[in-house]
């Protein structure tokens, strides 16, 4: 038995304290094996981003603990790739420059990553915009650039907070497919936040359904569908059954 990639043990988060206190998440536990693709699915404000930040070591757990790669998370984890809900593109760098910022901040030699940067840019179809500045890009294009920024140092754990949130349906479908093939190829461990039930089922090995605030992982659903999951897979009966099952849970919360 291999060690867990991420082990969440009764983690909770309460922001502020006293009468101001906001109980945002937990307590919840979840063990994620290496190479899994886990989706966090839940209503707005249920603590998905909070959990993500706790895994990354950017926010302390109020109680409980989280283990990453066999070590308890106590400080920012630099070995992972995290894509924040608001993109982290800086206005003074081009798309390429912003992707390279990840490399430069880590003190890695930019020259070694040239090819990776180029490949990522063309994966998300930003070739013509590689030398443009963020303000010249649409919201969706910025999100694609930020996606490349997250992947460029080839982390084997990825935390993605609504990476496809601002994309139109068509681009979203195509990036999903790219994300899936990337995952099938390299098998990183992925924690993926989304509001789309369909997206969660299509991409994940398991879907975690989180209750409204204070969020708890109420149900973990194994998605047993063959890879790769293309449009045909999405039309299958089994796919619809999973979707119905999840919708039912949200219906129970009164959020759907």
């Amino acid at each position: 038995m291999t060690a867990a990639a991420i082990d969440i043990r009764s983690a909770t988060k309460t922001y502020a304290s006293g009468t101001e206190a906001v109980h945002a998440f937990g307590p919840s536990s979840l063990t994620i094996a290496p190479g899994e693709f886990i989706s966090l699915l839940g209503p707005s404000g249920c603590g998905k981003s909070t959990l993500m930040l706790m895994i990354a070591g950017l926010l302390d757990c109020t109680s409980g603990e989280i283990e990453l790669g066999g070590h308890v998370v106590k400080e920012p984890q630099t070995s992972i790739g995290i894509m924040f809900q608001d993109n982290t593109l800086v206005p003074w760098r081009t798309v390429r420059g912003n992707i390279e910022l990840q490399i430069e901040l880590r003190g890695l030699p930019s020259a070694d990553y040239r090819a990776t940067v180029d490949r990522l840019i063309s994966t998300v179809k930003l070739d013509d915009f590689a030398d443009r500045y963020p303000y010249e890009l649409s919201g969706g294009m910025q999100q694609r650039a930020a996606f490349c920024q997250t992947l460029v140092h080839r982390p084997d754990v990825l935390l993605l907070d609504e990476p496809l949130g601002k994309l139109d349906a068509m681009t979203r479908e195509s990036i999903r497919r790219d994300l899936q093939s990337l995952w099938l190829e390299d098998r990183p461990t992925v924690v993926f936040v989304t509001h789309s039930i369909e997206e969660a089922i299509q991409l994940s090995t398991r879907v975690c359904v989180i209750s409204p605030r204070p969020g708890r992982i109420e149900k973990v659903i194994d998605i047993d569908l063959p890879w790769p999951r293309d449009l045909a897979a999405k039309r299958s009966e089994k796919f619809s059954a999973y979707a119905a099952e999840i919708e039912e849970i949200f219906h129970g919360y009164g959020v759907l």
Binding site: L53, A56, L58, P76, Q77, T78, I80, I82, F84, Q85, D86, N87, T88, V90, P91, W92, L101, Q102, E104, L105, R106, G107, Y133, Y135
Partner: protein, 274 residues
């Protein structure tokens, strides 16, 4: 080869001309207003029969001012030196200090509130004191200009370096970047636009500070000149001095704007599109 270069020169010249024409086209309303304002001034003097020792005509301001141009230009130079020195020293001290305050919670609890309350003091009120302490020379003027420039720069620098957005702060932490690397690659460029807000504000204050300092005690400079000629009932020359002060202020502000455009072109272009 010669052909090619002359071919290139012709459209370049034409585009230069058309750029000027376009600029004129954009600002014709302003130019019209400007010209109209001075024409009105010129003829209102006759219409309302205002005596020249109260308010001179613009044409008189130009001709009489021109007659005294040597003195005016030298005094412009004097005031410019005072303004520029005080301004540059203020920036050189205020930016590092603002940076230190933004990053040190101790300084934020001690010096910062002190500065905020001093910001409420009209700095110019110190001018007579500095003149009485240090005399009529360059130094008290530079100190007064320094005072009126220092606070806008330091307060904006504190704001600039202290307000990196939360997501970028997290991004930096997640990369494990060293403080230096994070500073030069992210914090500093992110802070520059807000710093320039302070620089521009201070540029406006600089000539005001120099002029008032000269009013209070000096034997040269445009502020001195304006006070003397007004005492001699020569408002025409006073206006000539005011005109040169305006040009000086515009030049300083324009220079800062040019530097801004050169240092943070990404910010300017961003502002233009939205």
């Amino acid at each position: 080869m010669a052909m090619a270069s002359s071919e290139k020169a012709a459209p370049a010249g034409a585009s230069w001309l058309s750029a000027v024409l376009r600029a004129l086209g954009r600002s014709w309303a302003f130019i019209l207003f400007f010209v109209g304002f001075f024409l009105f001034w010129e003829y209102a003097i006759d219409i309302f029969s205002i005596p020249a020792y109260i308010l001179p005509r613009p044409s008189e301001i130009v001709t009489r001012g021109w007659a005294d141009i040597d003195r005016l230009l030298y005094y412009t130079y004097v005031t410019a030196v005072e303004s520029l020195l005080g301004y540059l020293v203020a920036i050189a001290i205020a930016v590092p200090l603002g940076l230190a305050i933004a990053f040190s919670s101790f300084l934020r609890r001690t010096i910062y509130p002190f500065f905020v309350s001093l910001e409420m003091t009209p700095k110019i009120a110190f001018a007579p004191l500095f003149i009485s302490w240090l005399g009529f020379g360059l130094l008290p003027k530079v100190i007064i200009v320094f005072l009126v420039c220092f606070f806008p720069v330091v307060l904006n620098a504190i704001l600039a370096f202290g307000s990196l957005n939360e997501e970028l702060t997290r991004f930096i932490r997640a990369t494990g970047a060293s403080p230096w690397r994070a500073f030069f690659k992210v914090r500093l460029p992110a802070a520059l636009p807000q710093c320039f807000v302070g620089f521009k504000y201070a540029a406006i204050n600089a000539t005001v500070g120099a002029t008032i300092a000269e009013f209070i005690g000096s034997d040269q400079g445009l502020g001195f000149y304006i006070q003397i000629v007004t005492g001699n009932m020569r408002p025409d020359l006073a206006f000539a001095g005011i005109f040169l002060l305006t040009l000086l202020g515009l030049a300083l502000f324009g220079a800062v704007t040019l530097v801004e455009r050169w240092v943070i072109p990404w910010h300017i272009s961003q502002r233009r599109t939205h």
